[in-house]
């Protein structure tokens, strides 16, 4: 990372593991449960959040000295809502197919606490470049967990990845299904996302004892 100073690089790498927004900060859990039944949806959500959080953090950071502290939460909300709506409109006009896939995430992005959480905790107190890195870092950290959860839920729940069957055909009983394997329908229910996230948290804290709180 020759381009970034050590401190700046840390802004990106920290949220990937030791300060992960989902497993450590416990931000963005709701959407992690809601949309991870499929790998494709997880990926789309991860990219959308990357975009909104990166730009949103910069906008809020640029405005940080003029935002009245009494109404700062509402101002943050307006910035993220406006950003998301504009992106949605542009997609509808020029990439209609894509916008149909994304429309379900629009509402989820606005209410995603990871966005407001990073605005409030970081962008309001730091410069635009640092805030941009923080946004990207946190969005990637969030996306990585989403993709891991989506991978296991789709694989074990539906036997597919990105909608492509990888374990054989469950109805015609080919591949794995020929030897008696069954899809675990429970995996596509939101509670299983919580359990998968729990397992990730467990693994992470076992490997790095410093993360364990008293």
């Amino acid at each position: 990372m020759g381009l970034l100073s050590k401190k700046d690089a840390k802004l990106i790498t920290d949220p990937l593991a030791d300060n992960n927004p989902i497993t450590i900060q416990v931000l963005g859990i709701c959407s992690a449960l809601a949309i991870t039944a499929e790998l494709k949806a997880s990926l789309v959500m991860a990219i959308s959040v990357l975009f909104v959080l990166g730009i949103g953090n910069v906008v809020i950071s640029l405005m940080r000295n003029i935002i009245p502290s009494k109404i700062r939460i509402i101002v943050q909300l307006i910035v993220v809502a406006a950003l998301v709506i504009i992106v949605d409109l542009v997609l509808k006009a020029f990439a209609y197919e894509l916008s149909k896939t994304l429309s379900v995430f629009v509402g989820l992005i606005i209410t995603n606490c990871i966005i407001m959480g990073r605005f409030e905790a970081f962008a309001l107190g730091n410069g635009p470049w640092k805030s941009f890195l923080d946004g990207i870092g946190n969005a990637v950290g969030y996306g990585v967990i989403l993709i891991i959860v989506g991978f296991f839920r789709e694989l074990l729940g539906s036997g597919t990845l990105f909608g492509i069957p990888v374990l054989g055909d469950p109805i015609a009983k080919t591949g794995f299904y020929a030897i008696g394997y069954e899809n675990n329908g429970f995996m596509i229910m939101p509670p299983m996302a919580l359990i998968v996230v729990g397992i990730i948290i467990w693994v992470q804290r076992t490997r790095n004892k410093a993360l364990i709180e008293d």
């Binding site: 039944a37 504009i86 429309s103 539906s158 109805i171």
Partner: protein, 247 residues
């Protein structure tokens, strides 16, 4: 020094300014992009209607529309006439596909007569009657284009939704679900019954086409119930027209 951004007057001015700037920005974006968006929606309707009657580019497992570039031409070619049914009046109207089903449903509730659009298409010598319908899923609207023959046996269907859960209810627009409807009879012994999205009907391969049931999607009970309710209540409205075709 008291921070100037803490003053009430500043806060109010800032709020007003922010609302004006953001409001103007959004209004500008919305009106600037509206023609493109409307055009996309119009083409999508044509694609949906054509999909239901089997004019599509499906590969082995995925649902694919005809391209937006070809849609208007194919729509001209396959759709013979577009009807608007209102009570016992049936008139031809080549803009019928632009009728907003949601608006018509609101009109019906308000006691103003509802216009029912119906598209008559012909392909390989077979005649298709395609009805656009709309209902409620778990989170938001769901809608469908149902192609039937003159006896109200489903020939093809296209479902879509605004915001059903990805991986669960959102799968109503996947082929494994939509294709199950093909061949299902909406009637049972000549009486309109609809098609139920049923759990545990012991027919996951959907071989029985006369049971008025298709296999449900696991984890999408409410969306499935919405589909059943939509098919039942909306297609029932078309039944009188199909009765007239018998003579």
């Amino acid at each position: 020094m008291e921070n100037r951004t803490d003053k009430n007057s500043y806060t109010i001015l800032f709020a007003i300014g922010m609302v004006l700037v953001v409001g103007a920005l959004l209004a500008f974006a919305a009106s600037f992009l509206k023609p493109n968006i409307d055009e996309n929606k119009r083409l999508e309707k044509q694609q949906n209607i054509l999909y239901a009657m089997g004019v599509n580019e499906n590969d082995e497992s995925n649902a694919n529309f005809v391209s937006t570039a070809d849609a208007p031409e194919l729509f001209q070619k396959y759709i013979e006439k577009q009807l608007v049914i209102q009570g016992s009046d049936v008139v031809e109207n080549d803009q019928a596909y632009l009728i907003d089903v949601k608006k018509e449903q609101t009109n019906a509730k308000a006691g103003i007569g509802r216009k029912l659009p119906l598209f008559v298409g012909k392909k390989d010598g077979k005649t298709f009657y395609i009805a656009p319908i709309r209902g409620k899923g778990l989170w938001d609207a769901i809608w469908a284009y149902v192609a039937m023959n003159k006896d109200m046996v489903v020939q093809g269907v296209f479902f879509d939704h605004k915001g059903e859960t990805a991986g669960l209810g959102a799968n109503i627009n996947k082929r494994f679900f939509m294709d199950d409807f093909i061949g299902e009879d909406l009637k049972n012994n000549g009486v309109f019954k609809g098609i139920d999205v049923a759990k545990g009907n012991a027919d996951p391969l959907n071989k029985d086409k006369s049971d008025n049931e298709v296999d449900a999607i696991a984890g999408a009970t409410i969306t499935g119930n919405g589909v059943s309710a939509m098919l039942k209540s909306e297609l029932k409205l078309y039944e009188p027209y199909f009765e007239t075709l018998k003579n």
